[in-house]
């Protein structure tokens, strides 16, 4: 894949005294036609990274290099609407850059239609709803035909239906234009939905950049495991044959080759932890007690007590076991060895990161 933006040895310092913050990124490439999702907790430096990549904030050291001639455009978390109509908002940047009128007409009509707001063209932008404004901001950015598009929390504050439809339109616009996209979001589900690769920032450091599935299933640290939704992190000790012993009577299978006696974290994504209904998927790891049941209408989440440890798994809401299970029920659990991700644990007894 061709890189359209390269970040090298970047250091960006902000603030002073106790409020001082430093972002460090050794190397990060944005490729044409891909979506790179940047995840991380609040204050990790996600927005600073975007602003520096956009050239809107200066780097203290290092470089952000544009490989192509195309523009780098950024859509902010709370996009502004200029005074005037929706159409004016999309056209103004093109006009300011001296784009020919017929080209402005074509690009703005395309962008407005693609994001489903062509019917609002003559409406005042100041009267748009949050979702419509988000669509306007994306249409305005796409009309510029950038080679790199930076999106800061594009789904923030939208209801789930609006998020769903906007992420669909966004993904289809990206496929159509081949623009390289960096999207910062705290919403893991949206990041998974729109991204090809994922980068995880922790305290100003870029800890992991990899293909989406690799980051989701093989996070390089327990902190990143938490960020990417590997919420089942159990302190364990390796035994012969790749078993990770959580305690004397609870063991997890794994394919890991660390030597016996090594203190580790055993990580399991909730969707990989199965409530065993006798279909033989994975290896049985014993019984657990259901201590909490929550649902969002799509997934039912079970919080389970497995010995002294707490585990979480998801079921499809409203179907099969999800309809029958009750608090205090005992269920059998199973997991495939390849779904247990082993991470080094510096010393015994420390709590999982929150």
């Amino acid at each position: 894949m061709n890189a359209v933006l390269q970040v090298r040895d970047l250091v960006a310092r902000r603030g002073s005294g106790s409020g001082r913050f430093e972002l460090r990124v050794d190397a990060l490439d944005v490729h044409a036609g891909e979506v790179l999702a940047v995840l991380g907790p609040n204050g990790a430096g996600k927005s600073t990274l975007l602003l520096t990549m956009a050239g809107l904030e200066a780097a203290t050291r290092g470089s952000v290099e544009r490989i192509t001639d195309g523009a780098v455009t950024m859509v902010f978390q709370r996009p502004i609407a200029f005074a005037g109509t929706v159409q004016h908002n999309v056209r103004i940047a093109l006009r300011s850059q001296g784009v020919a009128t017929d080209e402005i007409d074509r690009r703005s009509a395309d962008a407005l239609a693609h994001f489903g707001i062509a019917g609002l063209s003559l409406r005042r932008a100041s009267g748009l709803s949050g979702g419509e404004l988000r669509r306007l901001a994306l249409a305005r950015a796409f009309a510029l035909e950038p080679s790199v598009l930076l999106l800061d929390e594009p789904f923030d504050d939208l209801d789930s239906e609006a998020q769903e439809s906007l992420s669909y339109d966004l993904r289809s616009a990206l496929e159509r234009t081949g623009v390289g996209v960096v999207v910062v979001t705290h919403d893991l589900r949206r990041a998974v939905m729109v991204s090809d690769r994922m980068a995880v920032l922790q305290k100003g450091r870029l800890e992991q950049v990899d293909a989406r599935q690799t980051v989701l299933e093989h996070p390089v640290s327990p902190e990143i495991a938490r960020v990417v939704g590997m919420t089942n992190l159990i302190p364990a000790t390796m035994e012969a044959g790749g078993q990770a012993a959580a305690d004397a009577s609870h063991r997890l299978p794994s394919l890991d080759a660390r030597p016996a006696g090594r203190h580790v974290w055993a990580g399991i994504r909730p969707e990989h932890l199965k409530v065993d209904i006798g279909r033989g998927e994975g290896e049985s790891i014993g019984k657990a007690e259901v201590i909490r049941i929550t649902t969002d209408g799509v997934l039912t989440t079970l919080d389970l007590r497995w010995g002294e440890h707490l585990l979480r798994t998801h079921l499809v809401a409203g179907r099969g076991l999800a309809r029958e299970v009750r608090i205090a029920d005992t269920v059998l659990l199973s997991v495939r060895p390849q779904d247990v991700h082993i991470l080094d644990r510096p010393r015994a007894g420390i709590q999982p990161p929150r």
């Binding site: 602003l51 956009a54 809107l56 523009a71 455009t73 950024m74 859509v75 902010f76 709370r78 996009p79 502004i80 200029f82 005074a83 005037g84 103004i92 940047a93 300011s96 850059q97 305005r140 950015a141 510029l144």
Partner: protein
């Protein structure tokens, strides 16, 4: 001293408009850039400057007139310019009265924009000249309020204008100083004629503001 005739009324009205519009243009020329700068930038001492601007809004015009008159007085620091009792001195006083109003209202209008407004506009690749045009367009109602407040303050000002212009017939006499003079002389018809013109100017201004505001919302 005789009552005011139509020729005299026209002459005073035109001079008033000339003085006031000159003061307004100068106030806006300095006040708008200063207001935008104070509204958008963070720097040490900004609060002090804003405090000075706010204090300036409440400064008694008579005191402003006194200071300007002292400046242009023959023995004053700018005495060699020979501008005491001149239209230029009146304009200077009016600028000093209007400037804090313009700056404060522009600061308020700019501060009402999103904190990252400028970054967002830059992110769209919009050049600096267009960014300024967009900014002025965004704060247009604040600018309009600044124009009206400044013009209202200048047009109705009498103390500072009297001190710096002296109400000289055919030279520095304007509507407010003329009203004061004819009232003192007991020539109430002339004073009322001037007052009607002054109020008429104010009403035209208010009507213009309402029309522009209404046009902006529909």
């Amino acid at each position: 001293m005789s009552a005011l005739d139509a020729q005299g009324l026209l002459e005073i009205t035109l001079r008033t408009l000339g003085v006031c519009l000159s003061a307004l243009v100068i106030s806006l020329s300095f006040g708008v850039p200063i207001g935008i700068w104070l509204g958008r930038r963070q720097f040490p001492g900004r609060r002090v400057l804003l405090g000075l601007v706010n204090s300036g809004m409440g400064a008694p015009p008579i005191v402003v007139g006194l200071v300007v008159a002292q400046l242009f007085f023959r023995s004053g620091p700018l005495g060699q310019l020979e501008l005491w009792y001149s239209v230029e001195a009146m304009i200077t006083a009016q600028v000093l009265i209007a400037l804090p109003l313009v700056v404060a209202l522009v600061v308020a209008a700019v501060a009402a924009l999103d904190l990252d407004w400028e970054l967002q506009v830059k992110a769209l690749g919009i050049p600096a000249r267009w960014r300024m045009w967009l900014l002025l367009r965004e704060i247009r109602l604040g600018l309009l309020a600044a124009v009206i407040a400044a013009l209202g303050g200048i047009l109705s000002e009498v103390g500072a204008v009297m001190q710096t212009g002296g109400n000289l017939e055919g030279e520095t006499r304007v509507l407010t100083t003329a009203i004061l003079m004819y009232t003192r002389m007991g020539l109430f018809e002339s004073a009322y004629a001037l007052a009607v013109v002054l109020i008429g100017l104010m009403l035209v201004l208010a009507g213009l503001l309402t029309w522009v505001q209404h046009g902006d919302r529909t």
